[in-house]
Symmetry: C2
Subunit: 245 residues, 2 copies
């Protein structure tokens, strides 16, 4: 089976702690330099260089040269989806066995972050919950759909262009920290870019975490009825008592 060899090749590229850490860091869709990735994976630049070459050769990332830096990013949304699905399985068993013990550093990540091109963390899950509660989206297992009323709501908010035809835009994505679905797909991307455009959230330097701005607190409440806090504790509380099923 030549085809399963290719499968193994792709999976093996992810199946090494340093490379997995790099890919996870790139999951926010931005491009990082080789040095940043090396630092982040706690390895020397030479070693990172080898890893990056391998990831590039199997097509998981692409590199872009700019001056004396080389920026690496995920090769596409399909790669992000693949890593997402691996995270989902990895997360399940982790939580089942060892109770996670997440430090304060991770609290910001849990509160709000990007997941390739959409919002994740407590914020992303809250938005999905709110849209589901208001009947704007329907989520069932691995499928989701934007309803008519939801489409109208998104257009009124300026998140979706009114001109677009009535195509499905919505995909659920299991949040690895919250273990509940948030919204991905074209709708999730539209919400995320809208939030960034309106400066409801701001990217934090050197991390995938997002900072919710004062404008965001207002915006998210008015748009979705989601109440956020600027500090960590609020949103993190709900998942602190999660059952380690």
């Amino acid at each position: 089976m030549a085809t399963s060899n290719r499968i193994a090749e792709v999976a093996a590229a992810v199946g090494e702690p340093a490379r997995a850490a790099m890919l996870a860091a790139l999951m926010d869709g931005r491009a990082l330099t080789a040095a940043e990735l090396a630092d982040l994976a706690a390895i020397t630049p030479q070693t990172a260089s080898g890893h990056l070459a391998r990831l590039t050769s199997v097509g998981l990332i692409t590199a872009e040269k700019q001056g004396r830096h080389r920026y690496h990013r995920l090769a596409g949304a399909d790669v992000a989806r693949m890593i997402e699905s691996v995270m989902q399985i990895a997360g399940g068993v982790t939580l089942a066995r060892t109770i996670p013990r997440i430090g304060p550093r991770d609290a910001a990540l849990r509160q709000a972050r990007t997941c390739y091109d959409h919002l994740a963390g407590g914020l992303g899950v809250s938005i999905a919950d709110a849209l589901r509660a208001s009947g704007a989206v329907e989520i069932d297992g691995d499928a989701a759909a934007l309803t008519e009323v939801g489409r109208a709501q998104m257009q009124a908010l300026g998140i979706l262009a009114p001109a677009r035809s009535t195509r499905p835009l919505c995909r659920p994505c299991l949040d690895w920290s919250e273990r509940r679905p948030h919204l991905a797909g074209a709708l999730g991307a539209a919400i995320c870019s809208h939030a960034l455009d309106q400066v409801w959230v701001r990217r934090r330097a050197g991390t995938r975490a997002l900072e919710i701005t004062p404008a965001g607190r207002i915006g998210f409440r008015q748009a979705f009825g989601v109440v956020t806090v600027t500090g960590q504790p609020g949103l993190a509380a709900s998942q602190a008592e999660r059952q380690p099923w």
Copy 2:
């Protein structure tokens, strides 16, 4: 990052040719014995035993003892989705580089097979195309939805129970041999089990390929307007001239 270690652990479990071959074989959702899997991966039973233990310990498969046999199956739909997404990436580059050269053995697989719990191959893609053309489903990128008219059609066919509320049931799944989407999610599973119930397709011994029965030729045409052939060539023809983009 303890979490990326878990990611690597899961991916590494897939990232070895023998294990990848086993997992690919289990993608039809059935359970196979250790010996069958060993044979299929071209390794000795001892080696297979080790691999299976590892796959089980990371939670990708579950084993079930029955007499002196041990039946192994994928641990769940999320595992199938994960492997699917890896196949998708693996397939992309494979086709881009080396023109596949698939033997006659694979022709049956390309024509019709199961993909965990739904139909794949030429048959699966044709059904998806037909449902899309008739306005029963809408597919856009990684999202899909069953329309009102589609829901009515499925209920009339006895594929979906009329009682169910109006939830999204539909997920696109990129076919690794056709490189075009077929239908997964609850709808895909319902179509597949209906086809098996009505003996429109029959499982073939020792392979994931499905045989389209004479009843199936009638059934698929009446239900979906899909014209099938019992031999290989018909459906395979359309993809023989596919561009190796």
